[in-house]
């Protein structure tokens, strides 16, 4: 089955690559002439093997072109998520229990070690960050309590006084103190945190921000991708949430791998942390990663389709299977045949990637039988 699915995938990729040569019509071409309505919603026929859609466009051609976007989204999301997830997971696993110095107070003297100028720069920057946050906290407290203090309310005095005391203490601590940061804890909590962020409002906000002419990213995406700017946005959002699973997986693997003898040996030989992480540890986690990636491709294609269904997907006139299926849903009673081709393509593609992932797992990791 895995071989069969590989063949399907190769065929799909070929279809996407050679779309202009395979597709019988231009996917955005509308009929011309007097009575264009006569070409709308045509059922399948020899000229249009899958019929025509709500603007008289050839469904087969749109399916073929749609494979480009759907596969692009799938591959780009899986690839980027795996890269990002691997980096984060490796850092978390490797540095677990070895906290990094994150902040050093300006009066704190370092007894040992040599610090390059870049560290000094980071030190200064972190002071700005630290005291900036304190200043912000104080100004918020003042804004909250201002009215009350003017009105003489004891609660406001108390609240503001407490905050002031707290900020002063933190400022004093910041002079001589040190904050250490366990990367593992930070990244793990970041993942927990990301999991609690709801996707829907994030989509709404991003969708608005990215079309605001004042925001550079949106303009850049428009410039680079043109009509397909929404593709880039969708990919970015899916990656934002896609790396979490990979990171967890990698972290777990690294945690057990770093105790292996060959790592201790490399450390003894004076290899740098970066070398150990990326030459010795990461290659040993590749097998489950590849499996994870294939499964994620299918997942991303499904999610893009689901986003289209909720109105946040990739916009017309760019054809994707997801927005074709959503559009067909509007006409399920006028032209039920419009829903089948995109639905079937999504289904078969995801199925193929799932089978491939399954087959790879068997091949790469004979012990696991999932």
């Amino acid at each position: 089955m895995a071989m069969a699915s590989l063949v399907v995938i190769v065929l799909l990729v070929l279809m996407a690559l050679f779309a202009p040569w395979i597709a019988p019509y231009d996917p955005t071409a509308q009929p011309t002439g007097e009575d264009v309505g006569a070409y709308y919603f045509l059922p399948p026929s020899p000229e249009h093997p899958l019929g025509t859609d709500d603007l008289g466009r050839d469904v087969l051609s749109r399916i073929i072109y749609g494979s480009r976007i759907s596969l692009l989204v799938g591959f780009a999301v899986a690839f980027s998520s795996v890269i990002l997830g691997t980096i984060m997971g490796t850092l978390a696993g490797y540095f677990s229990g070895r906290p990094l110095r994150f902040y050093l107070g300006p009066l704190r003297r370092e007894r040992e070690g040599f610090y390059p100028w870049s560290f000094a720069l980071w030190r200064v920057f972190s002071w700005f960050l630290y005291y900036g946050v304190l200043y912000l906290a104080l100004s918020i407290a003042w804004a909250l309590a201002k009215d009350g203090i003017q009105a003489g309310s004891p609660g406001s005095y108390l609240g503001f006084g407490l905050t002031l005391a707290l900020v002063l203490w933190a400022a004093w601590f910041g002079l001589k103190g040190e904050i250490r940061l366990d990367l593992d804890v930070a990244i793990s909590r970041l993942i927990d945190f990301m999991l609690t962020i709801p996707t829907l409002p994030l989509l709404l906000v991003l969708s608005a921000l990215l079309r605001d002419p004042g925001v550079k990213v949106g303009q850049w995406a428009q410039g680079v991708f043109g009509d397909a700017a929404s593709v880039f946005i969708i990919i970015a959002i899916l990656v934002l949430f896609g790396w979490l699973g990979t990171a967890r997986l990698v972290r777990g693997n690294i945690l057990s791998l770093r105790e292996q003898d060959y790592v201790t040996a490399a450390q003894a030989l004076g290899a740098t942390d970066a070398r150990i992480m990326f030459r010795h540890l990461v290659p040993n986690t590749l097998a489950p990663l590849i499996v994870q990636a294939t499964l994620q491709i299918g997942g991303a294609i499904l999610t893009e389709a689901a986003l289209s269904f909720l109105g946040f997907g990739i916009q017309p006139p760019v054809a994707t299977w997801g927005n074709m299926l959503t559009n067909a849903q509007e006409y399920i009673f006028t032209a039920p045949w419009l829903a089948l081709p995109p639905g079937f393509m999504i289904f078969i593609t995801v199925l193929a990637f799932n089978y491939l992932g399954d087959g790879l797992r068997d091949a790469l990791d004979p012990r696991s039988r999932l």
Partner: protein, 622 residues
């Protein structure tokens, strides 16, 4: 055995649903939206959904109704005030402004569903609540102008100052059950006494909302917290499923032949997903659809039309919703100057290039007419003799050539502006997820390509594009080209959509930073004569004179084309054969919903007499 029993139960249920209608003299109406609150929220402070107004027509009768012919008729008032019967008086108060006084008398037999008479106390109560400080009413404009003078238990006068012509449409004021809501209101008043309408606005708002809620939630209404004055009273409300209403015996108007010959029970069935609603209609469990139900395309789908003969009528009521493309005309935007969008010739050329007739035919079978101005043809103020822009690519090309546009190497028009060569690439924004708009957009993009105009589609969900910091900010070039959306073309037309300045109030109607982005003239059009004509027209109580003023304003509008008119939407209704007087017209009841004459709705087979014919107000699917 048990299994068989269960199946039988299920089978009977399915059958029971299908049995509704003439068999038990009931009416099941399908709607895709459910009201959040009903009845007690009489100022629509909590919710102003259209489904709420539609259902409340069954539960509360107005003093003066507005029928399918857009005429006033008395319901709980004895007479419609007119200048002939002396009950309507218009006086000049200087500066061209007018004062309007209307004398009304409540019917002697008007009663609430608990038997208590409806009196001026109830009108006074409504007025008092509406005028309360800090009341977050949705139509502050009305509440600032209205006043009330009570004569006795049945007679009172409503005064508008300054008055506009549309104040005479429908009921000038409402009423609410003082004997039910009054005691609670006294408590609210006491609690609000020490509060300042500016500083404690939020607290006041919460206080008022809580007051309305005590008489408006499903739980409260199922408990019987409210009384009704309409032909029906609420029996029960199953949230997420239905609202059931039964005949109110205290309603004073009796339909022809006695009320027993008319519908005794009305059920609103709520099915959010319109596809599922369509399935329910096809399955026969729904007798009629609400104004908030099927989409235009669903009502025309083969699945429905093929089953319709002998079972349903499918009506398309020409509506007042005006689909159009607004254009950014702010000269401070570089793109606007480059493309010459501030020049009427460019706008005329674009409109000539849009095949609106072809679109209306291909998409809607001609059931939704092409628009020529912003006023709907069903509105008496409509001027049919304005300049019309037929589909003519030659004319479009000629106009563009006049502006210096030439075809470039890529087939797109280009011209030189201030030493730079600019391409004619125009932004086209609309609401993502609205299938018909996105379809329209792609259709027109194809047309524009033919004359060498490239279209850059830039859609987003409606929450994004209708946000204050997008649609209202053409002056800051947030959108720089075309913006397709819809306005409801009110019967109470005042030209405010395209005024630069309302000369009666002095308000600037073009949203810019200076006026905190208020106003509906989002594209920034300015024509002083248009402002003068429309500002004068709303003060004109003589219909002929008013028409003349609006006719001239429309001529100017059609020549200048501040926006590109596309078409007027039609609202589809599916109605089971034999149901009579379930009739909607563009403005029936004020908003164009069916049910404005709820007491006359009935089944022919049960002896109901047909008084209103939907065919007069709607097109039927072929």
């Amino acid at each position: 055995m048990q299994k068989v029993g269960k199946l039988a139960v299920l089978g009977i249920t399915a059958l029971g649903l299908a049995l509704a209608g003439p068999q038990d003299n009931s009416l099941v109406i399908g709607a895709s939206q459910e009201p959040r609150v009903l009845a007690g929220d009489f100022l629509s402070v909590i919710s102003n959904q259209s489904i709420k107004s539609e259902i409340e027509q069954y539960l509360f009768a107005p003093l003066i109704g507005f029928n399918a012919n857009s005429e006033n008729f008395p319901v709980l008032a004895t007479q419609v005030p007119t200048q002939q019967n002396g009950r309507l008086r218009v006086t000049d108060i200087g500066g061209g402004k007018k004062r309007l006084e209307m004398d009304l008398t409540i019917r002697p037999d008007a009663r609430w569903s608990d038997g208590k008479p409806i009196t001026t106390e109830d009108v006074q109560f409504y007025f008092e609540v509406g005028k309360a400080k800090g009341m977050p009413v949705l139509n502050p404009d009305y509440w600032e102008r209205v006043n009330l003078r009570v004569k006795d238990a049945r007679n009172f006068t409503v005064i508008f100052e300054p008055a506009y012509y549309y104040d005479t449409y429908g009921s000038p004021i409402g009423y609410a059950p003082k004997h039910i809501m009054g005691p609670e209101w006294e408590k609210v008043k006491a609690a609000a006494r020490g509060l300042d309408s500016d500083k404690d606005a939020e607290k006041l708002n919460e206080l008022y909302r809580n007051f309305f809620l005590k008489f408006a939630t499903p739980q409260a209404l199922n408990r019987g917290a409210m009384v009704y004055s309409g032909p029906f009273k609420l029996k029960r409300w199953v949230p997420g499923n239905s609202i059931e209403m039964e005949r109110n015996p205290n309603f004073p108007i009796k339909p022809e032949g006695g009320e027993s010959k008319y519908v005794q029970k009305v059920v609103y069935r709520f099915i959010q997903n319109t596809n599922s609603l369509l399935v329910a209609v096809i399955g026969g469990s729904i007798d009629a659809t609400s104004s908030v139900s099927l989409t235009f395309d669903q009502a025309r789908s083969k699945q429905l039309t093929s089953r319709a003969p002998g079972r349903f009528d499918i009506w398309f009521v020409p509506g007042a919703i005006w689909e159009h493309i607004d254009i950014n005309k702010f000269e401070n935007c570089q793109t606007v100057r480059d493309l010459g969008l501030n020049d009427k010739r460019t706008r005329q050329a674009i409109l000539h290039a849009l095949n609106r007739e072809g679109l209306v035919k291909a998409f809607f079978d001609g059931l939704q007419p092409v628009a020529h101005t912003w006023i709907a043809p069903v509105n008496p103020l409509f001027n049919p003799n304005v300049k019309k822009y037929e589909f003519d690519l030659k004319k479009a090309e000629a106009l563009l050539a006049e502006m210096g546009w030439r075809k470039g190497p890529d087939g797109i028009l280009q011209r030189t502006v201030g030493g730079r060569t600019v391409r004619f690439e125009i932004e086209y924004v609309t609401t993502a997820g609205n299938a018909i708009r996105e379809r329209t957009q792609q259709f027109f993009a194809e047309d524009l390509k033919k004359i060498g105009i490239a279209v850059k589609i830039n859609n987003a969900p409606s929450a994004v594009v209708f946000a204050d910091d997008y649609i209202q900010r053409a002056s800051e070039c947030k959108w720089t080209g075309m913006f397709e959306f819809a306005w409801v073309s009110n019967l109470q037309e005042d030209g405010g959509l395209f005024q630069y300045k309302n000369l009666n109030t002095g308000a600037i109607m073009v949203p810019t930073k200076e006026n905190n982005y208020q106003g509906q003239n989002i594209g920034g059009w300015r024509n002083d004569e248009f402002d003068r004509l429309t500002s004068q027209a709303v003060l004109e109580f003589d219909e002929a004179k008013r028409k003349a003023l609006f006719a001239r304003a429309q001529e100017i509008w059609a020549e200048e084309l501040p926006a590109l008119p596309l078409y007027f939407r039609a609202n589809p209704y599916v109605v089971r054969k034999g149901l009579v007087n379930y009739v909607a017209s563009a403005y029936s009841g004020g908003y164009g919903y069916p049910g404005w004459n709820a007491w006359e709705i009935g089944w022919e087979s049960r002896g109901a007499v047909k008084k209103w014919d939907q065919a007069k107000y709607a097109l039927s699917v072929k």
